[in-house]
C-alpha cells in the first residue's frame, strides 16, 4: 500500500467534495430552469470573453516579467507581484474605483482621455488582469527557470539583447508553457468575484449591455434576486463549473506536455 498516495488522494477528495455536491444538486435534485436562462449564459459568456482578454493581456505584459524574474535575481520585483494576491480582492475593486473617480486627479485625467473603469468591459478586464497576472507570472517563471539557459546565453553572445532573446529564442520554444500559464490565468480570472463585484457589477457596453459577470450573477441569484433564487444559483453554479473545468484541465494538459 502506497500511503503517500492514499493520503494525497484523500486530501484532494476533501478539497473537491463541495464542488461534487454542488454539481450533483445543481444538475439533479435542485435543478431549476432559472439557473440556465439566456441571461445566465450571457453572463458566462461575458466572463469567458473578459477572462480570455485578460489572459492575453497577461501574456503580452507579464511574460517579460516572468522571464526577467526567472533569469535575474530581483527579490523586490518578485515580492511586489504578490501584493494584489495578498490583499482582500474587493479592495482592488475599490482601488480601481478611486483611481478612476471624477473626485480624484488621476480619475479626472483618465476620464479626460475617455478611460472609464466603472461598469465597463475595460474596468472588468483591468480588474481581471490585476487578479490573474500574479498567477500567470507564478506559472510562467518556473517554466522559464526549468529551461536550459545555454541557447539563451549562446544568443546573447551572438549579440541578442534580453528582450530579443526572449522573443526569438525562448518564446518559440515555450508555446506549451505559455498556453498552459494563460489557461491557468484565465481560469483564475473566471473565478474572480470580489474586485469585479465593485468595479463592474454589470457592464453597460455593447455587446454586453446590462450583463453581469457570471460570479456576480450567481451571487445575485443566491441573494434572492428572483423567487427560488437559491436553486437557480446552484444550477447556474453547476453550469459555470462545467464551462470552467475544461479550461483548467486544458491548462494542465498543456503544462504536462513535454516540449
Amino acid at each position: 500500500m502506497n500511503w503517500l498516495r492514499a493520503v494525497s488522494i484523500a486530501a484532494v477528495v476533501l478539497l473537491l467534495i463541495p464542488i461534487a455536491v454542488l454539481l450533483y444538486y445543481g444538475l439533479g435534485p435542485f435543478r431549476s430552469p432559472a439557473g440556465y436562462t439566456a441571461s445566465v449564459f450571457r453572463s458566462i459568456e461575458l466572463s469567458i470573453v473578459a477572462s480570455a482578454v485578460a489572459a492575453l493581456v497577461d501574456f503580452a505584459l507579464f511574460t517579460p516579467v516572468a522571464y526577467y524574474l526567472a533569469r535575474g535575481n530581483d527579490p523586490i520585483v518578485e515580492s511586489l507581484i504578490d501584493i494584489p494576491v495578498g490583499i482582500p480582492h474587493p479592495i482592488i475593486g475599490v482601488a480601481l474605483l478611486i483611481l478612476d473617480s471624477p473626485l480624484t486627479p488621476t480619475g479626472q485625467f483618465l476620464l479626460l482621455l475617455g478611460i472609464n473603469f466603472f461598469n465597463t468591459i475595460l474596468g472588468l478586464v483591468v480588474a481581471l488582469v490585476i487578479m490573474s497576472a500574479p498567477i500567470y507570472i507564478k506559472a510562467m517563471q518556473p517554466y522559464f527557470e526549468s529551461r536550459d539557459p545555454s541557447p539563451e546565453e549562446f544568443a546573447t553572445g551572438l549579440g541578442a539583447s534580453g528582450l530579443r532573446t526572449l522573443v526569438s529564442v525562448v518564446l518559440p520554444d515555450s508555446m506549451s508553457g505559455v498556453v498552459s500559464a494563460s489557461l491557468v490565468a484565465m481560469s483564475r480570472a473566471l473565478g474572480e468575484f470580489g474586485s469585479i463585484s465593485i468595479i463592474a457589477f454589470y457592464v453597460l457596453q455593447y455587446p454586453f449591455y446590462g450583463v453581469s459577470p457570471a460570479s456576480v450573477t450567481i451571487f445575485q441569484l443566491f441573494n434572492g434576486a428572483i423567487p427560488g433564487g437559491l436553486y437557480a444559483a446552484v444550477t447556474a453554479s453547476a453550469a459555470m463549473i462545467l464551462v470552467a473545468l475544461p479550461i483548467t484541465v486544458a491548462g494542465h494538459f498543456f503544462g504536462r506536455r513535454s516540449r
Binding site: 545555454s150 541557447p151 546565453e153 549562446f154 546573447t156 553572445g157 529564442v169
Partner: protein, 201 residues
C-alpha cells in the same frame, strides 16, 4: 589576440587566471578545475572581481555579454526551434551582416554539415556542429567552446578544420578539454587546476 588576466569567484570557488594568445587556445583540466567558470567569466556571465579581458586590444570586461563580441558555445547551445539553414545564419542576420551563400556552403562542407531539418530533432553531435558553425558565421572576435567538441566522432579533424576557418576569419578560439593531449591541437596550451592557470610551452 585574446589577453585575459582576471580574478573571480563563484561561491567558495576562486579563480585566478591568465590566458594570452592568438589563434587556437586550449585550456585543459579535470572536472571542477574551473574550466567552465573561466570561460563564463571571459564571456561575461560571471562578474570578475578584478582584471581585464582584452579582445583585439579592447578591454571588454565591463561590457555586457551581448556587446563583447564573444560567443560561448556549449553542448546545449543550439536554438532548437530553427531549421539548420536558418540557424547557421541566425547570428549573422541578428548583427545585420550580409549573408554570403558561398561562405555558408563552404563552412557546411568543411564542418560536415550535410544534413537539414529542425535543429531540435538532430543528434547532440549534429547540434554541436550547427552551433559551432553558427558562431563562426556570425564572425565575432572570439569563440569560447566549453566541451562542445566532446560528442563529435571526428573530433581532432573537426578542431583542425574549425581552427583553419577561424584563422581565415581572424577569430580567436579558446576551448576547454578534459584531455591534456588536446594541447597539441592548439597554438597555445594552458592547464587549469583549482582555479589557477599555468601556461604549457
Amino acid at each position: 589576440m585574446i589577453e585575459v588576466r582576471l580574478r573571480a569567484h563563484a561561491g567558495q570557488f576562486h579563480l585566478a587566471a591568465e590566458v594570452n594568445g592568438s589563434g587556437v587556445t586550449c585550456i585543459a583540466g579535470r572536472n571542477g578545475a574551473g574550466k567552465t567558470t573561466l570561460l563564463r567569466a571571459i564571456a561575461g556571465f560571471l562578474r570578475i572581481d578584478d582584471g581585464h579581458v582584452l579582445v583585439g586590444g579592447l578591454d571588454v570586461a565591463r561590457l555586457p555579454v551581448e556587446k563583447r563580441g564573444i560567443v560561448l558555445v556549449t553542448p546545449g547551445s543550439a536554438l532548437r526551434h530553427l531549421e539548420v539553414d536558418s540557424h547557421l545564419v541566425w547570428g549573422r542576420k541578428l548583427l545585420g551582416k550580409q549573408v554570403q551563400e558561398d561562405q555558408v556552403s563552404k563552412v557546411k562542407s568543411e564542418l560536415g554539415i550535410d544534413f537539414g531539418g529542425r535543429v531540435g530533432k538532430l543528434s547532440l553531435g549534429m547540434r554541436e556542429r550547427v552551433s559551432l558553425a553558427t558562431a563562426l558565421l556570425s564572425e565575432p572576435k572570439a569563440i569560447l567552446v566549453d566541451e562542445a567538441f566532446a560528442s563529435l566522432h571526428d573530433r581532432e579533424e573537426f578542431i583542425s578544420a574549425y581552427g583553419k576557418l577561424l584563422a581565415e576569419a581572424h577569430i580567436d578560439l579558446v576551448f576547454s578539454s578534459q584531455v591534456a593531449a588536446d594541447g597539441k591541437l592548439a597554438d597555445n596550451f594552458y592547464i587549469i587546476e583549482d582555479g589557477k592557470t599555468t601556461a604549457v610551452t
